[in-house]
Symmetry: C2
Subunit: 312 residues, 2 copies
């Protein structure tokens, strides 16, 4: 008996999003689920197009990701990067040898005229991922952070400077001229359940929701339940700089702060058991709070959270 | 006391050429020696610009080449290539992880507008190669072989089909519109000694000599001794398909056949001790034959042959 009978659209960033997405793939058929992934973090390294969030999703769903880090590949070697460093290349962004193959292949196919959606679909097929991983857009949108160390790309901020600079504002460059990818557009029209994975609301789901028309379409869509999972637990991000940046930008670094950012279109906010005391405040924002264990370590955790969401 | 007081221009292809070039670098200062390398074998793999002969020279002179094969790097891993194969890429051309870094870096710098000469110089500097390795041209020239298995690029013929097809003709595509690189041009004007390394006369030195004006300038240059080392010893190529292709194209697959191809501009032909009996026939072509051990295994062999040439 299927857990859920409708069409699910999941919006996700990197590691946290990939965990819940993995859970969803275990419960839904490929026809039922579309996983739309942030590409605001994409960046060119060594002339190669790197899509960190798409790759994290690809590696997670194909079962080859590094379980220690959440990103990159298990058992990875770094010989090419070491050689690139000898050649004087900037190698602060860690690229393993097998990971490089992904970027080489992607760059080659893009250079031959394929869209990022087509490339992603091809990479998924080759690695045996049956569910659709879809870039939010085939147009370039790039997240930049205005900080006390200058204007930084997402990877410069997050990887090179280890999220240390204080953030003043976030911009999604190119969003005005970008359109949702064809599959994202289709999923937006057909979804009966929208899931905002526990990803950074400013840096991961933010760029996706900023695409022209997306936020409005999500808000206006009839017959679609919209559920967000808070990436902030007990006042801290489960992973990454979400809480720090929210604070710096004047948001409350709790699930309430996240709920405020989603309140205009979201029906349900899943918050962690640790934050049970904040449920009523979320109710005050017009959202229903559901309390659940949201920190996913094992595969069982991921499937359990996905199941809970699908059964709402 | 220096072995030689003039300016040396060496023309070379891959492994054989790199051996003698290494010997020359041990005896000449960087100011005295220019090593011009065939780029007719260059090919794009996975969207990356690969220059097999330049790389063999670079790796040999920087001391990181694989001593077993002569090409590629010592202690190389092939993890990226394995992953590229999973992505459905054609991986008949063996590219190691560290070798890939060379192609990634080269492709990036070329994409940023650098010439192949500039890129090569940069790679040399980074790997501590003091002597000048110079591509024959910054323009694309590509060697193609018309065979009984179709028209093949050099790498398709040599690597993919293991030199098995029968060759009917060889063409250096693009040679008419190519000019010698600036450093090659300068070396041509200043050389007091030209050394044709023991490389395939049709596939390695052939494309270099085919560049507009090169053969004529070499032939007409006053005060420049021109010495070739035969890559054919005892009727066989020391390495590679030179003898096979020479036979298929109607040349005699001996040092005499090589001498005939160089007779219009060459002064001295160095032939192996095994071929001592062919010296007089070479004399009959108007070249002086010098008999020497030409098969270079150890570094001592390479330096000894280089020394013998410089002392002529």
């Amino acid at each position: 008996m299927p857990t859920y009978g409708g069409n699910v659209l999941a919006l996700a960033g990197g590691v946290g999003g990939a965990k819940l997405a993995l859970g969803l793939t275990r419960l839904l058929s490929p026809e039922q689920l579309t996983i739309v992934v942030n590409t605001g973090d994409d960046e060119t390294f060594h002339g190669l197009h790197v899509s960190p969030d798409l790759d994290t999703m690809l590696y997670t769903l194909s079962g080859i990701s590094n379980p220690e880090t959440g990103w990159g590949l298990a058992g990875e070697s770094f010989n090419a990067l070491e050689m690139l460093a000898r050649y004087g290349a900037d190698t602060w962004f860690n690229l393993g040898d097998r990971d490089l193959a992904t970027h080489i292949r992607r760059t080659q196919l893009l250079g031959e005229g394929a869209t990022l959606s087509q490339v992603t679909s091809e990479l998924c097929n080759r690695l045996g991922v049956a569910h659709s991983i879809v870039p939010m857009s085939d147009d370039p949108v790039r997240t930049f952070l205005e900080t006390d160390s200058g204007n930084l790309s997402m990877q410069e901020y997050f990887v090179k400077l280890r999220s240390e600079p204080s953030v003043r504002s976030v911009a999604y460059r190119g969003w005005e001229d970008a359109t949702p990818s064809t599959e994202f557009d289709r999923a937006l029209a057909e979804a009966t359940l929208l899931v905002l994975c526990p990803s950074n609301p400013l840096l991961s789901t933010g760029p996706i929701l900023a695409l022209p028309g997306v936020r409005r379409r999500v808000a206006n869509r009839e017959g679609c339940l919209r559920i967000a999972v808070s990436p902030i637990v007990g006042g801290e991000a489960v992973r990454g700089p979400a809480a720090k940046i929210m604070t710096e930008l004047g948001h409350e670094a709790t699930c309430i702060g996240v709920a405020r950012m989603y309140a205009d279109f979201c029906d349900i906010m899943v918050i962690d058991e640790q934050d049970a005391g904040l449920a009523s405040a979320i109710g005050g924002l017009g959202l229903r709070a559901v309390i659940a264990p949201t920190v996913m370590n094992s595969e069982a955790d991921k499937v359990a959270l996905a199941k809970l969401i699908l059964e709402m």
